[in-house]
Symmetry: D2
Subunit: 384 residues, 4 copies
Amino acid sequence: MKNEKTVDIYAKSGMMFKNACPSWRSAEKRKAMIKVGIIGATGYAGAELVRLLQGHREARIVWYGSRSYIDKKYSEVYRNMFRIVEDVCRDDDLAQLAREADVIFTATPQGFLAGLLTEEILSRTKVVDLSADYRIKDVAVYEKWYGIEHKSPQFIPEAVYGLCEINRGQITDQTRLVANPGCYTTCSILTAYPLVKEGLIDPDTLIIDAKSGTSGAGRGAKVQNLFCEVNENIKAYGVATHRHTPEIEEQLGYARGSRVTVSFTPHLVPMNRGILVTEYARLTPKPDGSLPTPEEIRAVYEKYYGNELFIRLLEEGVCPETRWVEGSNYVDINFVVDERTGRVVLMGALDNLVKGAAGQAVQNMNLLFGLPEDEGLKLAPCFP
Amino acid sequence: MKNEKTVDIYAKSGMMFKNACPSWRSAEKRKAMIKVGIIGATGYAGAELVRLLQGHREARIVWYGSRSYIDKKYSEVYRNMFRIVEDVCRDDDLAQLAREADVIFTATPQGFLAGLLTEEILSRTKVVDLSADYRIKDVAVYEKWYGIEHKSPQFIPEAVYGLCEINRGQITDQTRLVANPGCYTTCSILTAYPLVKEGLIDPDTLIIDAKSGTSGAGRGAKVQNLFCEVNENIKAYGVATHRHTPEIEEQLGYARGSRVTVSFTPHLVPMNRGILVTEYARLTPKPDGSLPTPEEIRAVYEKYYGNELFIRLLEEGVCPETRWVEGSNYVDINFVVDERTGRVVLMGALDNLVKGAAGQAVQNMNLLFGLPEDEGLKLAPCFP
Amino acid sequence: MKNEKTVDIYAKSGMMFKNACPSWRSAEKRKAMIKVGIIGATGYAGAELVRLLQGHREARIVWYGSRSYIDKKYSEVYRNMFRIVEDVCRDDDLAQLAREADVIFTATPQGFLAGLLTEEILSRTKVVDLSADYRIKDVAVYEKWYGIEHKSPQFIPEAVYGLCEINRGQITDQTRLVANPGCYTTCSILTAYPLVKEGLIDPDTLIIDAKSGTSGAGRGAKVQNLFCEVNENIKAYGVATHRHTPEIEEQLGYARGSRVTVSFTPHLVPMNRGILVTEYARLTPKPDGSLPTPEEIRAVYEKYYGNELFIRLLEEGVCPETRWVEGSNYVDINFVVDERTGRVVLMGALDNLVKGAAGQAVQNMNLLFGLPEDEGLKLAPCFP
Amino acid sequence: MKNEKTVDIYAKSGMMFKNACPSWRSAEKRKAMIKVGIIGATGYAGAELVRLLQGHREARIVWYGSRSYIDKKYSEVYRNMFRIVEDVCRDDDLAQLAREADVIFTATPQGFLAGLLTEEILSRTKVVDLSADYRIKDVAVYEKWYGIEHKSPQFIPEAVYGLCEINRGQITDQTRLVANPGCYTTCSILTAYPLVKEGLIDPDTLIIDAKSGTSGAGRGAKVQNLFCEVNENIKAYGVATHRHTPEIEEQLGYARGSRVTVSFTPHLVPMNRGILVTEYARLTPKPDGSLPTPEEIRAVYEKYYGNELFIRLLEEGVCPETRWVEGSNYVDINFVVDERTGRVVLMGALDNLVKGAAGQAVQNMNLLFGLPEDEGLKLAPCFP
């Protein structure tokens, strides 16, 4: 049913000027909108949340949290938002924010939220955590890979792992805490999930070679992320030790029904945005000893993703490329069967700041509040 | 009054899926929308038109013209549009297109439209020409700088130079032909216009040093535009001979009220999008011999651009940067008075594919059809 | 007055001016130098040969072959060579060139040399072929992967595969034809060779995920290699079908002593130069069931590469990066043992135009003429 | 057998391995070489000194000064130098260094050297200062533009401004202190010098629009120099206030014979290396009222630069590009006369780390020690 309110909502749509020109919305409308607080609004993922939420018709940002820039106008830090966002940055006061916001996005370093989260906060507001604090169910695994003590493990059980296409059913208006998946993780899992789930590949042979643009490294002032250090270079890092590994293993383990161990190697690429994963796995022979055919593999992907709005299974022979998803919430996926080796090569591409962070966070928010899942996310990829 | 039709329009807003999911719009709605044809839809400017029009609530593309890719699916050429645009590319049949479309965008090489345009076409449809064919009123100047004969000079007088912020009043539902300004030109003129108009600078001392991203060079397969030739390089080109020079001079001449001669030098920068102009001019002393103050200059800019949606006069001391306008229809402008030299340095930045091409073309279309000027253009700049 | 010392200084000069100022060398000296002809001198690999040979004290270029630029000054095509190279480009007359040159480098498309090579040519001059024509011993394999008929298979048996660090002993003054290895191949093989040779890994589990800068795609004018298409993008290509695969398999097969089948996936990275390979393989358990230790693996690398001038086994924990080898003939190699998965991750980096093409070709020339192997190749990597 | 010739070969070696393999040089040879100390060896300019001096046959580095990395191996900071440089970084002890080195290069922040330089140091060693401390003769101008007090103005008079092509005659074995010019400055001055000197242009109309790669911003960890902030962006900065302005004005003032005031605007370009200047000036009419012809302008350039090894006056119609000088000590220069405006457009390109910093510093060292000016600088530009 489209009632007066709905009409109003859509009437004020579009990508921007909403906050800049509050008069565009009636007082009642603004009152009715979801009030969003962002902690870490001046990091790259936080800034992408700000950008995406300009185009969201049911949410408005009430708190631009940034410890580094308290009292500074947000648009002085991100000048693309000049004349669009008029607010100033505020401190990271989670307790106060819980009183003012319907949902809080925490785009913060590991351990930050775990150190501050309380029952009272969760009783007042929903939290979508873009850090890793509640992604891993086994706290010992978290503490081992992250090298820090988890300060509030009591909330881990209730946290839903917000990989929407897989766990959509668990993210409802009853959910209080969503652990938004990592960028590498989202791409790695979605690319392999149907084949693991259906047993077409042997997950213990799974090798994930991932490549990321530099925005994934954050906006911290580090020599290693200077232009001249990244440009004209490619390197692997965190080999055999990257923290997204256990997250991938846990989720693929659920798909398989038993523990999975994978090789995961991230690489830094001289570009701003984008993640590409190239995954290798041995195909599971069928009872007659033959390997699954490309058609059978495609059918499995279609079974799981055929109706997904944000997953595009590409046409045969087309390799995913990060440029084709830039700025959007899409994941592009395809595969090649290599009969010579008995392996299948899976490929997936997404924008690490959108589907790999802020876009998926908004998608989770939409689920939490019963909105259309694509609200604020109908973004055509921008090329070149 | 918000009638049923308006509601419908807005209800289907957003950036995409419109063409992909035609069922989202009722048959009546689709019928009522402006039918758009694009000639040159697979060039970079044409592709940006396609992207922008996905988010336009009153227009739908009925013709994806591309001589190079006839009968090929558009989304096979621009794979970002996979699952968004289902159409195939069609030939450049301007006459037939005039029967099917309410407005035609020609994103074509110089001379193309001039060679095909007829009274019959203009009697059936409106044309927004992204080439230079109708930008220059003096056909001799056109022929000298472009080195080709103009095949239909009879249409030059009626063509309106579509620099919206300056010529908005001339672009109405009576207009048949809009000459969409060049990318360098838009940036160069808008940056200097108020100061020339008000006589604050001596236009004959105006020097425009312009820098452009590589998408401005088009999608033609040329060695000079290969990645390895452009990357890690900057160069000037077309020094003292670039074809945007007379276009700038003509328009600034109108502002001044007499002929203007400028130096214009374009440079190629290793980035995809963006134009930055740095302009130098001698300040005109006031009657008392003193120079205009920064406050006075700012006031003049405010007078002309204070209410402009797409022109952002930056805060004092902030230099325009292309990254802050990328993907949007904004022009960011600022200036520095250099008392030592008696000159003012003007700076302007825009996205060459948006405000410098497709965005401005859509802005012109909106004016032609009496729509809100920002329809389909409420785009927050995307960074990083 | 040119005294002994002055002469000496210039005679032993560094990187350039040699050809530009021939008078710097005495007539006798120039006469005694190796006369080099290059076919394909205006491709990227050919141009790198030109650059490197400027600094070679025993060789001078007598023929800049370039069918596309016949009679054009070489320095008009590669303006970095202005005032350094005065010669004009000449046609691809292999027969005439064989009379004028002591050695010919062919940096040409696949099939070119195979179509022209004759006994007479080889009786007059040595040939270092940078194409794939004589790399693969089994002509059927060549014809299958390259999709063309091999026109002179009779020369395949005598061709030496010029991977200097492995086959150095076979490249002597008696050798007439050297098949210079491919760029991906050189990096892939050298990175894995000692472990395959010594049986520390199971080569049939070997997965090579390779990333290359764009100069590897050549200087042909193709849309897919335009700046805007490559910049801000990463993609895989030639998945399961890339032609360097059989070359890698053949050479690693020799090391192992039996056939090897590998997965090889190349990727295109937005940078000019550099190849990085990330290789995954299962470690072969020792008789007691334990895996080889990092120390044992390192010892094997040291055994093979400890005295190699151009292979740098990095310190523990340091990952190879392309920036650290750019412009040089180095291959940087390292590895990480992943006990969780029982796999080892091998990494290798080189400059695709130097060690991956022209540098190795010069290294082969040095071996062919009994010169110090590093003559003309003592190049410190250039960063940033 | 190592005969005289073999020894000779290695003694005159090329780019590297010298320090890595000291045994390659005889003890006497090493003893006789110029002992070089570098303060600031781990900045980009310092690192380029290290790279260039690997190929210098008469100098060896005895002190790698780096306060940030004391006791750390140099090759752990710059891994391109792994196996080439074995030394560790040392503190900035200028007094001790003066006892150990024949010449000190200071690649340090402004004010550093001025605060430490003493008569005793200068009595023991020569100093080539890559900072601005002794470039400007008028200490008041220095203090105004740099905003710091000059701690040792007594040494300013004796400092020679080391723009070799102009001041070569003043740099002798008697010189103790060389002020190495700035990167923008070298390019800006050399491009305009002959025309100013000969009065062909009016220097007060000179406008210098300069573009620099990002290595010019140094290796400091600043947000503004992160990859994602610089990539896909161009901006002006320091408009009307950049510190290289008075340096340009002073030197061009000497050429003209009277004070000169110029507009100078630097821009940051997303590339590692390279500076391009585009300069605009009004041509001085000849007595008969006509303007200087291109031939006359070219003749003036030839008069001053015709015999210069490192200045390449390009052929007519060819614009300088930074890619053609990368990695070399060249400055490429050309000009276009614009009769329409009565102006000439001058263009110059160099590598900011070579001719704009370390290369020119080595050139100055060569002059100080009576060596061939191009020793260690015979570097062919590296492309792509």
